[in-house]
Structures are given as C-alpha cells and as structure tokens.
Symmetry: C2
Subunit: 253 residues, 2 copies
C-alpha cells in the first residue's frame, strides 16, 4: 500500500484524487490546498488541509499546482522523508527542494468533469535515486500501464510536442468551427473528420496520412482557398502551414 | 432499388464500392475506369468497364475522380438520363455537363485499406432539380444517417474548413512526432493526448477546450519553448499559432 498526499486542488488534482481513491494499492491520505472552497470537493474522498504544518506523513507527495507555484509549495515539504514529485511537463526536477525528489508527469489534457481512463495515459517519471524511482514506479504502475522514464530535457521537449499536438491542433479546430459558423453550416459536419484524423495515426504515420492541396502541390486549389478567407490571421496560418507541407513533400512529387 | 455506376477507381471509389455492395437498397451495377489494373480490384464486387461507350444505364452516376478530371469524365455521360453527381468538396456543380446534375460529397478522409463506417459520415448533397435531389437523398440515406443539403459556396467553405481540421492538424501531429524522434522519445507517448484532443470537442467547443501557454498568455513558457526549437519552420509555426491564440484570448485574461 502506497500512501499519497496531493498538493493542489485543480483539474489534475481532481482526476488524480478520483483515480487514487478507486485503486486498492493506493491510499490517498490527504489533499492540501490553500483555498478552502476548492478543498470542499475533495473532502468526500479524503482528509483535506490548508495549513502546511498539518500536512501528513506519506510515501509520496504529488504537487499538482501551476508551474510557477511548484517551488513555493515544495518548501512546505522540506522535512518530509517521502518522495516529493511535481506533475509538470515544463518544469525541471531541480526546482524541488526536498530530500527525495521526483517527477510524475501524466501526459494528457484534463477537462473538469470529464473522466479519463488513466490506464491509457502515459506517465513520465524522473527521479534522482533508485529508491525514489521505485516508489514512483509502483505508484504509476498502479494506475497506468504506460509508465516511462523521461529526463528533464526530454520532458521539456515532450511538453513542446504536446503543444503542437494538442493546443495548436485545438486552435485549428476552432478555425474550422468559425468557418462553419460564418457560412451557416453546423460544426457537427466536421466532427467525424476530426475524429478520423486522430484515429488515422494509430495505423499510419502522420507523414503517410498527409493529404490535401499542399501535399499535392496543387497551387490552384490553394489560391482558391486563400480567396475564400477574409480573416488575415487565418490567411497567414493557411499560407504558412501550406508552405511547410509543400516544402516537406515537394521532393516526392 | 437504386442502380449506381461509379466512375473512378481511387480511394473513395473503393470505399463507396464496398459500402454500396453491402447495402440492400443499392445495386452497384458497374465501375468505370481507364486503368485496367486499377479496375481489377473492383471486379470481385461488380462489372467493370474501361470504354466510355460501355457505361451502363443507371439511376445515379457517381464521379469519384480527381478534381481536374471531373469535367472530362462527365462528358462521357451527356446522353444519360440518370443523375450525374461528382463527389468533390472544392468543385462547383456546374462543371458537370449532364442533364441531371448533382453533388454527393462525403466529408471524410479515406485511407486505402482502412474501412470506415459510412453511417457516421456526413454526406453533403446539392442538386438543381427536386427530382434529382430526391434520388441523391435516397442514395445517401441508404448509407448514412447524416445527410445535409449544402450549396456550392457552402461546400467550398466546408472544404476549406476541412483543410484546417484535417490536413493542417495532421501536419502538426507530424511536428510532434519529429520532436519526439529527435529526442529519442516514442511518438506513442503523444497518441493518447491526440485522441483526447479530438474527443474533447464532442463535449466542449474548441474555444472552451483551449489550454496551453498561449491561452494563458504565459510569455515565459512560450519563450522557453521557442528556445527548444531549432527548425526555422517549426519556430515560425509556433510563433504564429501562439500569437493567434494569445490575441483571441487576451481580452479574457
């Protein structure tokens, strides 16, 4: 049985709380947060506390707060012997000022109120001792079948890759939606295409899956598209991404 | 029973052939194509022909060829009384020179060898007569529960929206993959994130689902990311998309 304290009350903290609570080999003994209002949600799952001096003794302390607050929160844990791990993709392990440091980074986008199956979420671990790593591995493997050792530099790059694959992708969905709305077309018409686009990469590489006018070097279609766009930002994005795709594939045409 | 001839032997023609063949109310009577080799695949499903004069009489002729070839292929059908419809998002209805013209545009990305469930694929119809439209509606509804009337201008815009939601999105997946490979990280780590990103928009709007440094106006993280990118094209894409997201959301910060 691994005992865990979660520090933080946001989206990820909520998802971890729910998952730990239903995992037999994990005992979520406490959630710490400064905001009493936010803590209320957690009190149906476990004990809550808002004073650093009341933080309980545990095998693992998971810091699930915003990147800027990690260092400060870790100061409350200087006297703890358990493994102190943050959950951030972009933050180095050494901002933590604890005896036993680690990183426990679940690579996923978490939405309030939308449950996720942790079993398929990659959890990226880093640690500076074999012993701490063993504890984090036990914790991660209890909730996920995809546990990876990823160092600080790799994790930074992975976080960057995730910005392209998630943040920017979602923004493109938004442009698709805006085009639909302007033309009185339901955005629902695009949704099956969006689903299939993401499904494709389970069986093809993105390179193999690439289609469209830029892929074919079809200048006529690209110019037609550009003439349909009135928003300057959308036009710039269309131009830049088309140019990038064209450049990548033109050797093969 | 609706009788159909497919003209074309590509990806979409194959998927339509498979779907029509297993639909009781549709009789796929022939597939026409110039390339004998490509026709062979179809001969296990129906009759094939490669001479325009041999094209059979049918209720509907579906032209599933590349955009540039639509007009030429439609010339073979001048004497036909059935509805002649193309399947292209970017092509106006009036390139067709047939008596009864129409458009039958399935909005999806089709991959060779990867079967799709047509029932969930939106089919966008256009026609210039009530009678032709009725025939196309019967055909579309026999294979899909999502049949929409979309005119030429709307369809052009929808096709443009699809470029953002599919072609450009897939290219961003490719950048994510490239970043992983360069840093000796398996691209599999990003796949659950990619899946969840597309799943999110079934319950949230893209605007609600937007997260990340640009969404938060977090300049420090954005600069850190930029310092990690050495490829000039990726850097330009990062800058432009971050700027667009920041501009869209900064009023709300």
């Amino acid at each position: 049985m691994i005992s865990v304290v979660i520090l933080g009350t946001g989206n990820l903290a909520q998802h971890l709380c729910q998952t730990f609570s239903k995992t037999d080999s994990i005992q979520l003994i406490q959630v710490y947060g400064r905001n009493q209002g936010n803590l209320r949600w957690f009190s149906s799952y476990t004990e809550v506390c808002s004073e650093p001096k009341d933080i309980a003794k545990a095998d693992v302390y998971l810091i699930a707060v915003s990147d800027q607050a990690i260092e400060e929160v870790s100061h409350h844990l200087l006297d703890k012997n358990g493994v102190v791990a943050h959950t951030s993709g972009a933050t180095p392990i050494n901002v933590l000022s604890a005896k036993n440091r680690g990183v426990f980074y679940p690579l996923q986008t978490f939405t309030k109120g939308k449950s996720v199956d942790f079993d398929s979420i990659p959890i990226c671990l880093e640690s500076q001792s074999e012993e701490s790593l063993g504890v984090l591995q036990d914790l991660a493997q209890a909730i996920s079948s995809k546990v990876h050792l990823i160092d600080t530099e790799q994790r930074r790059q992975l976080h960057l890759a995730a910005v392209f694959a998630n943040n920017f992708t979602n923004y493109l969905y938004g442009i698709g939606e805006a085009i639909c709305h302007r033309n009185k077309i339901s955005f629902d018409l695009l949704k099956p295409l969006i689903q299939e686009t993401s499904n494709k990469i389970t069986s093809l590489t993105p390179k193999e899956a690439q289609t469209g006018p830029a892929r074919r070097g079809d200048e006529k279609s690209m110019n037609q598209h550009l003439s349909l766009i009135s928003d300057p930002s959308e036009q710039e994005i269309y131009r830049l991404l088309s140019k990038a795709i064209k450049t990548k594939y033109e050797k093969e045409l």
